[in-house]
C-alpha cells in the first residue's frame, strides 16, 4: 500500500521550475492520504485547511519572487509529541486527546518559517513509550510494506508516512531508538543527530537526558537538507548546543575514502540471523569498495546497555509525566473528593498500560534501597558506556552495526514487555552516549521486510555519517 516516492530534492526542483505549485503539491499529498491512510493509518490529525492556506501563501511568495527558502512549499508532518500552535497535540494518549497547544516546537517553527507546509500530526506509541506503535491509544498504524506487520516505534507514524509515499519527510523523536528502529522496519532513512543539535523546545518530553529530535526521509540527500534547516542553537532550549553547523549538503557526496570503520556484525548480541549478517557484510563491502578500511570491533554487552537505558528512562519518565494531573493538562475526571483523589483518578484513566508500567517502575526505582541498588548503578553503567563508545570512536571514524535484531514483526505476534524492549538492543548505545546515528535500509529478512544498518559517529560528526549513508544508498556497482 504505497504511493510513488516523494523526495525533497525533486519537489524543490519542480517548485523552482514552476512545474507544479505548492497548492497542487499539497492537493496531491491530500489525495495520497485519501488513498493510503485507510490502510496505513500514519496520521492522527490531518490539517487540510491549514496546509492548503500555507501552500497558497507559499505560491503567493513565489509569484512575487519572495521565497523564504528553497524548501518553501514542501509538505511535512510531525510526530504527535511536538507542540503545534492551534493544532491538536495528543502524544497518542487519552490524557492529551483534546489538547491544543498555544505555541509550536522550535523545529516546527523553523520549518514553517522556511515556508514548509505542515500537513498534520503522526501516530506514535503513547508518550513515545514503545517499539511498535501498538501502544497508541488513538489509532493503529500498519507497515506500508506489509500491513500485517508493525511499522516499529515509537515514531511509527512518521516512518510509515514516508515509506507510504505520503510525505517527502517527517519529524520524529528518538529516546532509545524511536526514529532508527521504525525507519529500519519501514525501509527508509532515520537520523538521530547528536544530543542537543536540534532544539527540544516544544517536544513533550519522555526522558530529557535521552530525548533527541530527528528526521525520517526517503533519501540521504533529503536528510542532509532537512538537518541543515532544523539544526542549530535555540535560546529556548538550555541543552541545545551552540556548535557551528557545517554545510551538510556540500559534504554528503564526499565519499568515505580513508575513513576507518569499526564493524560490530552482531551488535554484541552473540548471534544474528543469516539475513542480518549478509546485510552487514554487504554494507561493509560497499564501504570498503568506496575506499574505507573496515575492521571488526567489540562493544560492551547490549543487554547491559539496555538495562541502564530501561532504568534511567523509567526514572526520568516517572518524574517528567508527573505534570499530567488531569487539571493543568489532561482530562479531569468528575469527582467530588480531594484534589489528590481527582488527580489519581485522572491519571489512572488517562494513561495507557505501557505508560503506567514505566511510571510505576520509575517511581519504584527511586524508593527505599532501590535507588542505591538500581538507579545509581544504572547511571554509572551509562557513564561506562559513554566512555567505551568515546574510546572506540577515537580509534575509528564510524561504527557500523544492525539497527534492530531483525525486520518488522507481525502485529499479531505477542511480545512481552521485556521482549518489546529488546527491540532497542542495538540502538540504546547511541542514545545513552548522545552520539549521532542513522539507520539506512540494506537488505531484506526472510519475509522480504527491510533490514536496517546503523551508522554511528562521535559527537557532532553528522557529516561523516551522511557520507557513509550516501555510499550505502548508492550500493555496490553492478
Amino acid at each position: 500500500m504505497r504511493n510513488p516516492p516523494l523526495t525533497v530534492t525533486s519537489l524543490v526542483q519542480a517548485l523552482e521550475r514552476r512545474e507544479l505549485s505548492a497548492e497542487e503539491l499539497t492537493g496531491e499529498v491530500l489525495a495520497r492520504l485519501d488513498r493510503t491512510e485507510p490502510v496505513v493509518g500514519a496520521f492522527l490529525t490531518v490539517d487540510a485547511e491549514g496546509a492548503l492556506a500555507a501552500a497558497r501563501r507559499s505560491d503567493c511568495r513565489r509569484a512575487h519572487g519572495e521565497t523564504l527558502h528553497p524548501m518553501d512549499g514542501i509538505p511535512f508532518a510531525v510526530k504527535d509529541n511536538f507542540c503545534t500552535a492551534g493544532v491538536r497535540t495528543t502524544c497518542a494518549s487519552r490524557m492529551l486527546e483534546h489538547y491544543i497547544p498555544p505555541y509550536s516546537a522550535t523545529v516546527v517553527s523553523r520549518l514553517q518559517s522556511a515556508g514548509c507546509v505542515l500537513m498534520g500530526k503522526l501516530n506514535m506509541d503513547e508518550f513515545a513509550m514503545g517499539s511498535s506503535t501498538q501502544h497508541s491509544a488513538l489509532g493503529i498504524t500498519r507497515n506500508p510494506l506489509n500491513p500485517e506487520c508493525v511499522p516499529g516505534g515509537s515514531s511509527g507514524g512518521s516512518a510509515a508516512a514516508v515509506a507510504a509515499g505520503e510525505l517527502p519527510f517527517a519529524i520524529g523523536s528518538d529516546t532509545g531508538g524511536s526514529i532508527r528502529q521504525p525507519a529500519a522496519f519501514c525501509g527508509v532513512m532515520g537520523f538521530k543527530p547528536t544530543y542537543g543539535l536540534l532544539s527540544r523546545y516544544g517536544l513533550i518530553s519522555f526522558a530529557p537526558s535521552l530525548d533527541c529530535v530527528g528526521i525520517i526521509t526517503g533519501t540521504v540527500a533529503d536528510a542532509a537538507q532537512v538537518l541543515q534547516l532544523t539544526a542549530g542553537r535555540d535560546p529556548l532550549d538550555a541543552t541545545c548546543l551552540s556548535a557551528g553547523i557545517p554545510d551538510f549538503a556540500e559534504t554528503v557526496g564526499a565519499g568515505v575514502k580513508g575513513l576507518r570503520i569499526a564493524v560490530v556484525p552482531d551488535a554484541g548480541m552473540g548471534s544474528t540471523s543469516a539475513f542480518l549478517s549478509r546485510a552487514v557484510l554487504y554494507a561493509t563491502e560497499c564501504l570498503r569498495d568506496a575506499g574505507a578500511t573496515a575492521e571488526e570491533a567489540v562493544l560492551p554487552s547490549p543487554e547491559q546497555a539496555l538495562l541502564s537505558y530501561c532504568t534511567v528512562s523509567a526514572v526520568e519518565a516517572a518524574s517528567n509525566l508527573a505534570r499530567f494531573d488531569g487539571i493543568r493538562f489532561g482530562t479531569a475526571q468528575a469527582c467530588e473528593e480531594s484534589p489528590e483523589t481527582r488527580i489519581s483518578a485522572a491519571r489512572g484513566a488517562g494513561f495507557g498500560e505501557e505508560v503506567k508500567r514505566r511510571i510505576l517502575l520509575g517511581t519504584a526505582l527511586l524508593t527505599g534501597s532501590f535507588r542505591e541498588r538500581y538507579y545509581l548503578p544504572a547511571c554509572r553503567l551509562r557513564r561506562g558506556i559513554v566512555q567505551a563508545m568515546a574510546s572506540l570512536l577515537e580509534r575509528y571514524d564510524l561504527l557500523l552495526m544492525p539497527t534492530a535484531p531483525g525486520g518488522a514483526f507481525r502485529a499479531d505476534q505477542p511480545l512481552s514487555a521485556m521482549d518489546m524492549r529488546k527491540m532497542d538492543l542495538c540502538t540504546v548505545y547511541a542514545s545513552l552516549a548522545g552520539i549521532p546515528a542513522m539507520s539506512v535500509p540494506v537488505g531484506e529478512d526472510e519475509s522480504g521486510m527491510p533490514l536496517g544498518i546503523q551508522i554511528m559517529a562521535s559527537r557532532l560528526h553528522e557529516d561523516l555519517i551522511l557520507r557513509a549513508a550516501q555510499v550505502l544508498e548508492n550500493g555496490k556497482p553492478d
Binding site: Q112, P235, L236, S242, E303, G348, R357, Y374, R380, M418
Partner: protein, 105 residues
C-alpha cells in the same frame, strides 16, 4: 542476591508505589503490575558494574556550551492574584528573542 528478602515487592508494595505515582489502579492491574515489576526488577538485578564506578556520575558542562541566562524581576504576589484568567490561561513572557530562520515567529 534475593531482593524479596530485602524489600517486599508484593501487592501492598505496589499499591504504595501507585500511591506515590498518583495513579488509580484496579485490582486486576495491581496483580498484573506486581508480577511485571517483579520480573523487570529481577532483570535489572543482572546489571553489572562497568567502567570506573568511583568517578562522578556526570561531566561538568563545558563553558563553551553555557548560555547566558537573564533573570527578570518576579511579579508581585498581589499582581499575580489579581490577574484575571483568560480562556486559555495567563502567560508571562520569560524569554525574549528567538533565533529562527527567516526571523521571529
Amino acid at each position: 542476591m534475593n531482593m524479596q528478602k530485602e524489600q517486599p515487592t508484593d501487592e501492598t508494595w505496589l499499591k504504595h508505589i501507585a500511591g506515590l505515582a498518583c495513579i488509580d489502579l484496579t485490582e486486576a492491574e495491581i496483580r498484573r503490575y506486581t508480577a511485571e515489576l517483579n520480573r523487570l526488577l529481577l532483570a535489572l538485578d543482572g546489571m553489572k558494574a562497568f567502567g570506573d564506578s568511583a568517578e562522578g556520575l556526570t561531566d561538568g558542562i563545558p563553558e563553551s556550551e553555557l548560555r547566558e541566562d537573564t533573570v527578570g524581576s518576579c511579579l508581585p504576589r498581589e499582581e499575580l492574584l489579581s490577574a484575571s484568567a483568560s480562556a486559555d490561561g495567563v502567560y508571562y513572557l520569560i524569554s525574549h528573542g528567538r533565533e529562527l530562520w527567516g526571523g521571529a515567529v
